[in-house]
Structures are given as C-alpha cells and as structure tokens.
Symmetry: C2
Subunit: 339 residues, 2 copies
C-alpha cells in the first residue's frame, strides 16, 4: 500500500468532479491498485494557496468550507505551497491561455522540479510546454500526463504511448468541439445561433462567452497538442487554417442536413509528402454518413487516425460527462502511480 | 540492445505477413526499441518442427526454401523444438478449434513453461485457456498477449490493460466478422448468398468453407474472449445465443437497406443486474445510421463499450489488411519486450 498526497491546482468543475470520483473509487483504488490518498493542497483564485500536511476533508472541500475544516496554511505562491503540501501528484486544472499556455507551464514546471507527478487538463501546457515538461519529468523519474486534454476521457495519448508501438501517424481528423456541433444541430432544427449557444450553455459544455469554441480556437489547440505529442511536430495555433461556425446560416445548415451531408466543425492534420511538416485546418465541413466522423452527433467527440499499420482507426467518445473528464485525470493518476 | 530469438508456431498468411513486417520495421525496432531479432524456430504441418539456433534467413523462409537455406534440425515435438530454437518469444498462429482451443493451449503452455513470451492470434486459446495461461505467464514473469484475436490490430485488450484503469465494463457490442457483412452488402446489391461468399473469398477474408463465419461461430468466440478477459466472466460459445446470416434473403436485406436500417451481424454481451452473469448474443440486427455501429461497412470492424466512467466508447478499425493483423502480433512483441 502506498499513500499519495494529492495537490489540486484549480478546483473548479473538473477538480471537484475528480475529488468526488476519488472518494467514490477509494475502495477500488486501495484493493486493486494499493493506492491510498489524501488531499494536502488546494489552490484557487478564491481561496489562495492552501496546504495542510495532514490532509483536508474531501467532503469539506466539496462543501466549500475549507477554512472551517482545517484552518489550512496560506502560502504566498506555488513553491511554498509545494513545500507545505508535499504532494506526490498535482492535478493542474487552471484556465487555458491558448496563446502562451501560461501560467500552467510555470506551475507544472515547479511541480515537476519539486518531484511530483504532473497531471494536467490544460491543452495550452501541452502545445507550448511539451518538450520542456517532458524532459523535466523524465529527469525527475516522474510522469507528465494529459489524457483529458483531447477527446475528454477517451484514451488518445495513452493509446499511442502504451498500445501502438512502432506506428507512423500520417494524418488525423476529428470532431473535438462539442459546443460547435450542438449549435449546428440546434440551427438545423430551425433555431438561431444564439439559441444554439444557449442550448450548449444549458448542457454545461460552454462558457458564458462561447468565442473560444465557435471561432475554432478550442479545436485548433487540440490539433496542435496531438501534432506535438503524436507526430513530434511543432504546430502553433497560428499555423492552423482556422474558420469558425459563425458564418453558417440556418438555411445553409438545413439544406446540407436534408442533402444527407450535414456540416460539422472538423479538425484535420496531414503530414506533408516529405514528412517534415503538417497541413492543418479547423473548419466547417459537410460530412456524408459514410465518413468515419459522419455519425458523431450532439456532445459526442471523435478522432480518426491514418497509420502506416492500419488504414484507419477511429475512437468515438459518446456524450462524455464531467464525470468522464474527471476520469481522464484519475486514469493518469493510476497510470503514473503504476508506472 | 537486446537480441530476441523468435519462434513461429504456424507459418501461414499471418505468420508470413509478420515475418515481412519484422524485416520492414527492423531499423525502427533497433533504433527506437533496442530490439534485434532472428527467427530460430519454425513449425508447420508441412515442414515439421524446425529449429536453427543461428537463425533462419527470413527471405528464405518467405520463399519457402527453409531446407536449402539452413538444413535446420527436425525436432519430434514442441519441447524438443523449444530446446533447439531457444525462443525468447513464440508467435502462435495455428488453426482455431472453437470447441476446445486445442492444440494451441498445449503449445502455449509448453512455451510459457519453457520461459518464452507467448503471443497468439488464436481466440480459442483465450476462451478456453486464459486463466491457466495467465497464471503460467505471471509465474514465469513473461507475457501472454493476444491483441490480434479480436478486431484485428486495433487495440482492445491492451486498451483496457494499459489505458483504462479502474473502469467497470457493463456491456459491449460489436461487428466482429467481416465476411458476414461483406456477404450481406453483396446481397443488398441484388446478388446471391453464394456470390457474397465468393466476394469475401476474393477479398481474402474467408476460408473455402465459410461456415465458421456465416453461422456466427467466429463472432461468438470473440464475444467469449472479450467477456473472459475484460469482464473476468467465463462465457462458453454454447452460452451465446447464436444465429447466423443464412436465413436472410436478398429481398429482406434490400428492404432493410432502403428503410435506412440495414442488417449487420451484431455481437452483444450485457452484464446481468447483479453483475455475476452475461446475456450474450450473436445475430443479424437492423442498425440505424445513428447507432454506434451503424456506419461500419465492408471489411471494417468495430466494438462499442459501455463503461461506468464513460457512457460509450467505440473503436472502429477501417478495412484492416493482413498487414494490420500482423501488426497486432508485432505490437504484442514490442509491448512484451518493453514490459
């Protein structure tokens, strides 16, 4: 049996869902993986940098009563927090900056230098920090994992890392942004763009400002993360031809649906002939139902890979929930602990 | 760098494709995985038990000139063959017996007792021998892998073993037999069952006698293998409600296709409410295009999982080739060597 101190950098919807999942799976973690855990650090904008070596009550954290439960130490920044919480694993779920990946990269750097496993839900940290963070992790003998950044909890990065040795990835395509597809489907049913946004908000899959989703940034950053990790090619968001869904009108969408080739926001990356660069785009495309991504609907997500060893391999995640996203982080934790 | 002696038990289409793949990937195996290899044993009905400690020429083996190349020793049975070839890894690709899993289980038992990794393409060995062979492998510190037995080269067993810790599988469904689906699609185009069989034979996906495919045995044995390994439930082929595709007439198939719900041979297994048994079937079903398996066509294969952590996860392998099947065995080899 090994005990793990856990640190939460960010404790919003995903962090909270993960804490609930850890509680729900605690017996299985102990019996099957010999993992015991306590949360010794939590940091959020609201509560500051909080550390408590003897552990917080998960129930108090989830009930927002961190202070009453423990009077935890208030650190001045990440390094003091790490020294106070002594985490074996840090879950980083702070907000995304798609142009720099900061401050997540600085946080993860500090975490790995301290000697903890670093697990992030932050795509930007992968796009802008993968090389440096991987080197740090390797030098420290720790894991830098980020399974939940693309396609939610469905295995994508671990699929290639663990199950597909010696393959060459030639191209991939994907439906990576559920907000855009929910809006498109709402408009196909005759309603407006704004009603589509409202629908996505009610489903809890988009922010108050949906720009990040509908202008294609979310899908673009995911393309860059996949290119970087699976193809070892640096691709910046500005290298991706990006076109969002704002210009699609209700009539155009309805006509395409009736024609059997509805629009979806599709992400693509294809290796150049000499294998040294990528041709990448995120844009609305009409897909026939025979397309590998053709029957991805609603909040479902999918990625399609073209490999030297297999003509096509598609992974589809149907209607992932917040619970599923949290599972991506839990799986990273167990894999890091077992690794 | 580590050198691996490789033994081939069976050297038919799959074994040959694997040998070609090993040659094609030899530089990458050396440079990326520090794996060097030579084939020190081959056994087939035609050539008998052949061992050559200094290695066969892969090109000679592929050219059917094993004798000319090497005058290899002729052993009297598997144990003498193992002592002669001293394989680190044995690839077992002998014919399937779907009622007993023999002689594959006896071969794999001998291989693991000798102290080699055992890699098989044989579903029967998984259905009837999984517990015993896993125990032997574990005791010997070796791997018993069988990724290519279901869904060809697409990761299924390794997906659960390596990337999906702490999940509970509640149900799965799949399109596991491409021959049946090619026949159905040929008949939808107005042709006869026999013409469908001929088409499948021309595609190289079925034997002279297609009974094993069209009567649902192939899919049934795959359901049992998945149940045994992923759900730890013993399911015998006789426990599966099995109905093949022979009773489907051309008109019925055409009408279903026009109706937008074409028939496919679908395999299903669902956990009982108390979690102790399975309700399993293999039978023709009409699938709408919105079904997770709804757009699997031609020789493509797919499996759909329902998990406690994810509402649905579908893996689709598009038009796998013999090359892809061989890759399943290669991936097992690299994973065993890295493990």
């Amino acid at each position: 049996m090994k005990h793990y101190n856990l640190g939460f950098l960010g404790f919003g919807n995903v962090g909270r869902a993960l804490a609930r999942l850890l509680v729900a799976k605690s017996t299985e973690l102990r019996e099957r993986y010999e993992i015991e855990w306590s949360i010794t650090g939590v940091a959020t904008r609201g509560m500051g940098w909080r550390a408590r070596r003897e552990g917080f009550q998960a129930s108090s954290l989830l009930g927002n009563s961190v202070d009453a439960s423990s009077r935890p130490a208030l650190s001045t920044g990440i390094n003091e927090w790490l020294r106070g919480a002594r985490p074996d694993v840090v879950f980083e779920t702070t907000s995304l900056n798609h142009e720099t990946g900061q401050p997540a990269i600085d946080y993860l750097t500090a975490v790995l230098k301290f000697g903890s496993h670093a697990i992030t839900a932050n795509k930007g940290a992968v796009v802008y920090g993968y090389d440096e963070l991987s080197k740090l992790a390797s030098a420290a003998g720790k894991s830098f994992f980020f399974e939940s950044t693309v396609l939610d909890s469905a295995p994508v990065f671990s699929l290639f890392r663990e199950t597909l040795p010696a393959v060459k990835l030639r191209a991939f395509s994907g439906i990576f942004n559920s907000t855009s597809n929910v809006i498109i489907e709402t408009m196909e049913a005759g309603r407006s763009f704004d009603e589509g946004v409202k629908m996505a908000q009610e489903l809890g899959i988009t922010e108050t400002d949906p720009a990040h989703d509908v202008d294609g940034w979310d899908a673009t950053v995911k393309v860059c993360a996949l290119a970087k990790v699976l193809m070892r090619l640096p691709l910046k968001p500005s290298d991706v031809r990006r076109e969002g869904i704002r210009s699609l009108g209700t009539q155009k969408l309805q006509a395409a649906r009736i024609d059997g080739k509805p629009y979806k926001l599709v992400a693509r990356a294809t290796l150049s002939d000499n294998g040294s660069s990528l041709n990448a785009s995120v844009k609305p495309e009409q897909l026939a139902s025979t397309d590998p991504l053709g029957n991805v609907r609603g909040t479902s997500l999918a990625v399609h890979f073209e490999l030297d060893m297999m003509p096509g391999l598609t992974i589809t995640s149907h209607r992932p929930s917040l619970h599923s996203t949290a599972y991506g982080l839990l799986a990273d934790f167990i894999n890091a602990a077992s690794g």
